[in-house]
């Protein structure tokens, strides 16, 4: 449940669209137990991530023993989370949860190569908990800010930015645009809520924050 303290790795805030592009991994020493980092295309290393999104599907894809796969959606894309016998708490959480639900996940990036050579990035969860919409909104805002800050600091003075330029062929501005659009959607959804206030016929345009199993309108 825990890890020895002072050197604990920080949990980066990254949207699914960027996380799924972070297929390059590296270590910072030759020690076989050296921590493995995923290289974020915005020029940062990530040994751990924290994200909040909507669990939309879950499935036991194990053959001999339980192996749960969850799809967790944020405003930019989908995180794939895999938990098996070595993550018993996270696995039993996925078993118990009913989709859709807002969940917060702390976990480690993992990569694997498919038969056709593409690198997939997934999350090996340390914990999964069900949370509320306010927590999700706060995470979106926080992650948008962190992403935009990373893009702003993306220059050759930053070793991970240099590494990203070598390893990826992606313009980091893409992720800034995604972050801004995530914030704009959230802001609009907020506005809708206010406009709706009182009038109980909620469903305006679909799309917005509609992935919440919202209050049933009075019939």
């Amino acid at each position: 449940m825990s890890q020895s303290a002072p050197s604990r790795e920080v949990a980066r805030r990254v949207f699914a669209t960027e996380f799924n592009d972070a297929g390059f991994t590296f270590t910072e020493s030759d020690d076989e137990r050296a921590p493995v980092y995923a290289l974020l295309p915005t020029g940062e290393s990530a040994n751990r991530v924290f994200f909040v999104g909507t669990l939309t599907e879950k499935e036991d894809v194990g053959e001999d023993s339980e192996y749960w796969r969850g799809r967790i959606v944020d405003p930019t894309g989908t995180f794939f989370v895999y938990a098996g016998q070595y993550q018993p708490e996270a696995a039993s959480k996925l078993r118990e949860l009913d989709a859709p639900a807002y969940v917060a996940v702390v976990g480690k990036p993992r990569t694997y190569e498919t038969d056709d050579g593409t690198v997939r990035v997934s999350v090996r969860p340390e914990s999964i908990t069900e949370v509320d919409a306010a927590t999700r909104d706060r995470w979106v805002v926080e992650t948008a800010n962190r992403t935009i800050e990373r893009v702003a600091a993306f220059d050759d003075g930053n070793e991970y930015a240099r590494m990203a330029r070598e390893e990826y062929d992606i313009d980091p501005e893409t992720y800034k645009a995604a972050a801004l659009s995530a914030l704009e959607d959230l802001d609009e959804a907020d506005g809708d809520e206010l406009a709706d206030g009182g009038a109980a016929d909620g469903d305006t345009s679909g799309g917005s924050a509609a992935d919440e199993p919202a209050e049933t309108p009075d019939l």
């Binding site: 980066r12 909040v52 805002v141 935009i148 802001d187």
Partner: protein, 308 residues
């Protein structure tokens, strides 16, 4: 004004009480070093300052940083800064070296900080319990802990008022990303003044003892940039989780297992955002106050994000 000019004026200002130094001369000397010899500005500035010190027959520590800043001790977070303090002498310790005249703890409303005064500085002795204005002390850092050094330019004025000494409270905010082992329903050693947490019914000092139940959460708050370990004591844990010690004991009794308590608590708090305030103890923040930051202001976040 150029950076060079600013630095030149700052240096001239520092010597204004001791030497007749014109900013133009300083600037010229800096320019030579920086532009002709490609010396970095901070190194150039250091070298020029040293040569003026020599001209004036002064030691570096006699040089005030031209009006040092008045600060609270818990706000000190940088090495080698010249600062002014209003403090109470909380504690005096036995100096471990002949070169040290006094060593101990100074405090103000923000907290406490270690201070050292050296024999060579020839300063008047400070009295325990008395309050002082200290101007021109220098900050020092060792393995992340800060202290202040008094020096021969330090002015000491005893003041006739009582300063309440604070507890170095820190506020940290972030997502609770981990609950560490030793959390939930725990047992402590009942021996006087021990309170150690038992491991399998044993105290590392007193051996097998009949422990007393307590609640605690050792957690990790993470804001995506730094991690901070925080400890919720029984009261703070009850406040955080809404579970009382009695309820926790009942739950453990029903399950014949104490670990269910920490699991139940983790369900309620992991992955949520908190802002906590409390004194720091080693690497921990001991939670006195806790609040949930509530609904995020998306509009101002959007305005801020667009401005980056």
């Amino acid at each position: 004004m150029s950076e060079l000019r600013q630095e030149a004026e700052a240096i001239a200002e520092q010597f204004s009480d001791h030497l007749d130094v014109a900013p133009d001369d300083v600037e010229e000397r800096l320019e030579t070093l920086v532009n002709e010899y490609r010396v970095p500005l901070d190194e150039a500035s250091r070298s020029v300052t040293n040569s003026y010190l020599e001209d004036a027959g002064m030691e570096r520590d006699e040089l005030g940083r031209g009006g040092s800043e008045s600060v609270l001790v818990n706000d000190i977070d940088e090495d080698e800064q010249w600062v002014d303090l209003r403090v109470k002498l909380v504690d005096l310790w036995e100096p471990r070296s002949d070169s040290i005249s006094q060593v101990g703890l100074l405090g103000d409303e923000s907290g406490t900080i270690k201070f050292v005064a050296f024999e060579t500085s020839d300063l008047p002795e400070l009295d325990e319990g008395a309050c002082y204005e200290l101007s021109n002390v220098v900050t020092d850092e060792y393995e992340g802990s800060y202290s202040v050094k008094l020096n021969r330019t330090t002015q000491i004025t005893e003041i006739d008022e009582t300063i309440e000494v604070g507890d170095n409270a820190d506020t940290v905010e972030g997502a609770l990303v981990d609950i560490q082992s030793g959390s939930g329903l725990i047992k402590r050693c009942p021996e006087d003044d021990c309170t150690r947490v038992l491991q399998n019914g044993r105290c590392s000092e007193h051996g097998q003892v009949e422990g007393e139940f307590d609640l605690r959460i050792k957690g990790v708050l993470d804001d995506g940039e730094t991690v901070t370990e925080v400890i919720f004591d029984r009261e703070a844990t009850e406040d955080l989780t809404g579970m009382t010690l009695e309820e926790a004991k009942d739950m453990a009794m029903d399950a014949l297992d104490t670990t269910v308590v920490a699991e139940e608590m983790a369900d309620d708090v992991l992955g949520r955002y908190y802002r906590v305030t409390g004194p720091t103890f080693r690497r921990y923040v001991l939670v006195d106050e806790m609040e949930e930051p509530g609904k995020v202001d998306t509009e101002s976040a959007l305005i801020e994000a667009r401005s980056i």
